[in-house]
């Protein structure tokens, strides 16, 4: 089993979750995070509306899903196509990290492995 962590733009979450579902993911966990990548950050006011500074971290959403290895490519493709804001992609569209999971357990039934996903 593998774990897919995708850091994406907040406004894309619903689209990405739907695309992932269609690609065969049955469960997700996500939360708000701050992220810093090659994206530039945003100009924010620091105090009384007179001086600004660059906030390098931007609001992002981290979606985590654990799935069978066989579905890996399909899920990744679904994320890429739904998270990209334009044909050519824009800086800040996000990043995907894949890692191995040794075991999954469903609390309710105690089932393990692919059955528990």
């Amino acid at each position: 089993m593998i774990r897919i962590d995708a850091v994406i733009r907040p406004e894309r979450v619903n689209l990405v979750l739907d695309a992932m579902s269609e690609a065969g993911c049955t469960g997700f966990t996500y939360s708000n995070v701050s992220g810093r990548g090659t994206q530039e950050g945003v100009e924010v006011f620091t105090g009384r509306g007179s001086s600004t500074a660059n906030r390098v971290s931007l609001p992002k959403v981290l979606i985590t899903t654990v799935t069978e290895k066989s579905k890996q490519q399909k899920v990744i493709d679904s994320i890429i196509s739904s998270a990209k804001t334009s044909e050519s992609g824009d800086i800040g569209d996000g990043k995907i990290f894949i890692s191995e999971i040794t075991e999954v357990i469903r609390v309710r039934t105690g089932e393990t492995g692919n059955k528990a996903i």
Partner: protein
């Protein structure tokens, strides 16, 4: 006894009371989340402490029947408010207690204003002691100077200060610099305000309450009160708009915090003038307040002083502008004296030197008080480094502003 005047002074007192919680949220929204409760509490407990001081000896020192030092401070004749009539005597429009109540609310908000200078690093218990001393040694005398028969007001130099430009704002602004200098800079001032809606809520409550502050300073429900409320609204609105537009021109965006600050700057500036100018004068004063305080904030950020929430730039500078502008835009038919626009420069000069006197007195005495408190073992002005890092909410109050924690 006039029930209409009484009705208005009751209302105005309640409105001025409400300003201090408003200030608490205005300031609270500007700090970092980990010191939000502390910042609110600095204002909130000021209500508690100053009310007691005012009742026991503060009012007496400011408005006592005699003077311990002539033209300078009242006496102890009204300690505990004993000896003030509860009921209006024949011919009195209102029972004298209304003055105790209304002035008490002014005495409360003034030290609360100062706290903006030293948020996120000041020892809470030291602040409580500071407030007791400051109201006694700084606020009460200055109130006496202006409204209690001292050297600045009608019985003295004849300065115009309708609702407390000197007593409240210049006074607080000067003390704020003293405090900022002595407590030192924040270790890590953060990037952005933690809660912009709180800043706007606080500014709204301040604005709302300021109608009682300025309107109530007519001490009656009369044409002066209505004019005061109207010019208050105009000056605040103009300064808010100007601040937003200047920010738009120089940064391309309109900051909510900026507009709120502009409104407060306008309210500060119109405070001494609310009994002296008309609508067009208020427009001019608000315009000046927005512009001048905007650049004052920018300028003071370039100094090494960390007046964290720009108390001096907004209340000190705004108060100075207001005091001088009162001398400029005073209309004889309203103020009783001619301002510069009506051709008389003398009032401007009176306004300047009385404001300057207050500024110096407040700065010096506040500095001394804080300097001494800093040296007293067990007190001291500043929290430990680890408390500052942890945030003052947990360190000083054992609380966190918000908790939404599964484990809670």
């Amino acid at each position: 006894m006039d029930s209409g005047h009484t009705a208005w002074m009751l209302t105005a007192s309640a409105l001025v009371f409400f300003m201090t919680p408003g200030l608490a949220f205005f300031y609270g929204g500007l700090v970092r989340a980990k010191s939000l409760v502390n910042t609110i509490m600095l204002s909130f407990l000021t209500i508690g402490v100053v009310t007691i001081v005012w009742t026991l000896w503060g009012y007496s020192l400011a408005y006592g029947n005699g003077e311990l030092i002539p033209n300078f401070i009242g006496d102890f004749s009204l300690l505990g408010l004993v000896g003030i009539n509860t009921f209006a005597s024949e011919g009195e429009a209102i029972t004298p207690l209304y003055d105790v109540l209304f002035q008490m609310m002014f005495a409360i908000i003034t030290p609360a204003l100062i706290t903006g200078a030293f948020v996120e690093r000041f020892k809470f218990t030291t602040y409580l002691i500071f407030t007791v001393i400051w109201v006694t040694l700084v606020y009460a005398p200055v109130a006496h100077w202006v409204w209690g028969g001292g050297w600045i007001g009608a019985d003295g130099a004849g300065a115009l200060d309708f609702a407390g430009g000197t007593v409240i704002h210049i006074n607080a602004g000067a003390a704020a610099i003293a405090a900022a200098l002595l407590v030192g800079k924040r270790r890590n001032p953060g990037l952005q305000p933690n809660n912009v809606p709180y800043v706007l809520l606080g500014a709204s409550i301040l604005w709302f309450g300021w109608f009682g502050f300025n309107g109530g300073s007519a001490l009656a429900a009369d044409s002066y009160a209505i004019n005061a409320m109207l010019v208050t609204q105009i000056a605040a609105a103009t300064a808010a708009t100007v601040w937003g537009l200047v920010g738009l021109c120089s940064t391309g965006k309109i900051s909510g915090v900026g507009v709120a600050t502009g409104a407060v700057a306008g309210l500060v500036a119109i405070t001494p003038a609310a009994g002296a100018v008309n609508a067009l004068g208020a427009l001019a004063i608000g315009f000046g307040a927005g512009l001048i305080c905007y650049f004052a904030v920018e300028l003071l950020h370039k100094t090494k002083m960390d007046d964290a929430l720009d108390v001096f730039a907004v209340h000190g500078v705004g108060g100075l502008w207001g005091c001088i502008a009162t001398g400029i835009f005073a209309i004889e038919s309203i103020a009783g004296v001619k301002g510069l626009v009506e051709g008389s420069a003398s009032q401007v000069w009176i306004q300047i030197y009385t404001a300057g006197g207050t500024l110096i007195y407040s700065f010096v005495v506040s500095f001394i008080i804080l300097f001494v408190l800093d040296k007293i073992p067990g007190l001291g002005l500043r929290v430990s480094e680890s408390s500052e890092n942890q945030g003052l909410d947990l360190a000083e109050h054992g609380e966190q502003a918000t908790i939404d924690d599964g484990a809670n």
